[in-house]
Amino acid sequence: MRRTGGDALVTNEIKVLRAALEMLWGGQHEFHGYELASTLADLESSDRLMNQSTLYRGLRRLEERGALESHWEDPDEAAEDGREGRPRRYYRVTADGVALAKSELARLQSAPTEWWRRWKPAGA
């Protein structure tokens, strides 16, 4: 997706961060990509999971922004769990991530107001 608004998050990144925060508020401090995709689909009451390209690009971008941090599961633990060669990458929301979500929320709430101020008809 082409970025036009500088450092602002794009829609899919906002969705990913929202799902991550939902899990955090639900008591789940760590999650892997598929859990996040499922949570997001549930939040949107949709049967469709976010595609892997968008999902993992969003997670990577949020990690670069410091909103998330991640670590790989120990391969031995994955093997014990019957996932030989398929370790999970766990993510957690950071304090910066919470702050970023608040600033994005403020931006989104102010955006329509700003738009209306600029384009409202005379006398409205």
């Binding site: 082409r2 598929y34 999971l49 390209s53 993992y56 990458r89």
Partner: protein, 255 residues
């Protein structure tokens, strides 16, 4: 037992398709980053296949296809786009066309090729001088010179005696190129279309046909005039590069 076997085979196929699509979609990325992405996606797929609510083969395949589309979209909309590769291919095409002009005896073809070579080089210089943005007026001037060259080429190809496949292909491709380059020049000057998709598409089709014509012509004249094969193949090679890189031009800002 048979249905179990069929189900297992279908799952195997889904996993293989997903793996192939992910490899294709991440091709060319930094090797470490790519390895991480492939592992993470493979794990994700394992989780999905184990999730009874979302593991129907059609659902999984749908997500795999959307992932592939997403990967391709990311590649196409990448910001790391430069006009340099295009400028290189245009230079090769320009040199080829000028060489062609020097070698060809027919004065009508010579003038056409001279203009085409000049137009190619003008566009190439624009790309070399400003690789991160299209300079509107220099690019439009180069496009117009190219359009006039290709228009002369259309007029110069005889259609009266025996009509050959080469003549049809060359006339069609040059006509399309004339329309495409004219539309591109107009679009660049008037900002009629800041992302010149339509002219781009026309020129891409024309470039494909020109490559086809040039290769055909090279094979045809190989035993008669082997020297002419060199510029002809240069133009064809440039056409291939042009075809490869022109589509990315629309992601460059126009100044």
């Amino acid at each position: 037992m048979n249905s179990e076997h069929a189900e297992h085979s279908a799952r195997r196929l889904v996993v293989d398709v997903a793996s192939a699509c992910s490899k294709l979609g991440t091709w060319g990325l930094d090797p470490d980053l790519r390895a991480d992405i492939l592992t993470e996606r493979a794990t994700d797929l394992t989780e999905q296949l184990a999730d009874p609510a979302r593991n129907a083969n059609t659902v999984v395949m749908g997500r795999i296809l959307r992932t592939l589309v997403g990967d391709m979209g990311r590649r196409i909309s990448s910001h790391h786009v430069s006009a340099l590769p295009l400028a290189v291919s245009l230079s090769i095409g320009g040199v080829g066309a000028l060489l062609y002009a020097a070698l060809i005896p027919n004065p009508d073809y010579r003038l056409s090729l001279l203009l085409e070579g000049t137009g190619f080089l003008m566009l190439a210089i624009t790309g070399f001088r400003s690789p991160l943005a299209i300079r509107r007026f220099p690019a439009a001037a180069g496009s117009l010179v190219l359009a006039s060259g290709t228009a002369l080429g259309v007029a110069a190809i005889p259609f009266d005696d025996e009509v050959s496949l080469f003549a049809i292909s060359a006339k069609t491709s040059l006509s399309l190129a004339t329309i495409g380059f004219t539309a591109l020049a107009i679009g660049l000057v008037t900002e009629w279309d800041r992302a010149p998709r339509l002219p781009g598409a026309i020129i891409l089709v024309a470039a494909g046909l020109i490559v086809f014509s040039e290769i055909g012509w090279s094979l045809y004249i190989f035993d008669q005039d082997a020297v002419q094969v060199v510029p002809s193949m240069l133009v064809a090679g440039a056409g291939v590069l042009f075809f490869r890189f022109f589509g990315r031009l629309r992601h460059l800002p126009i100044e």
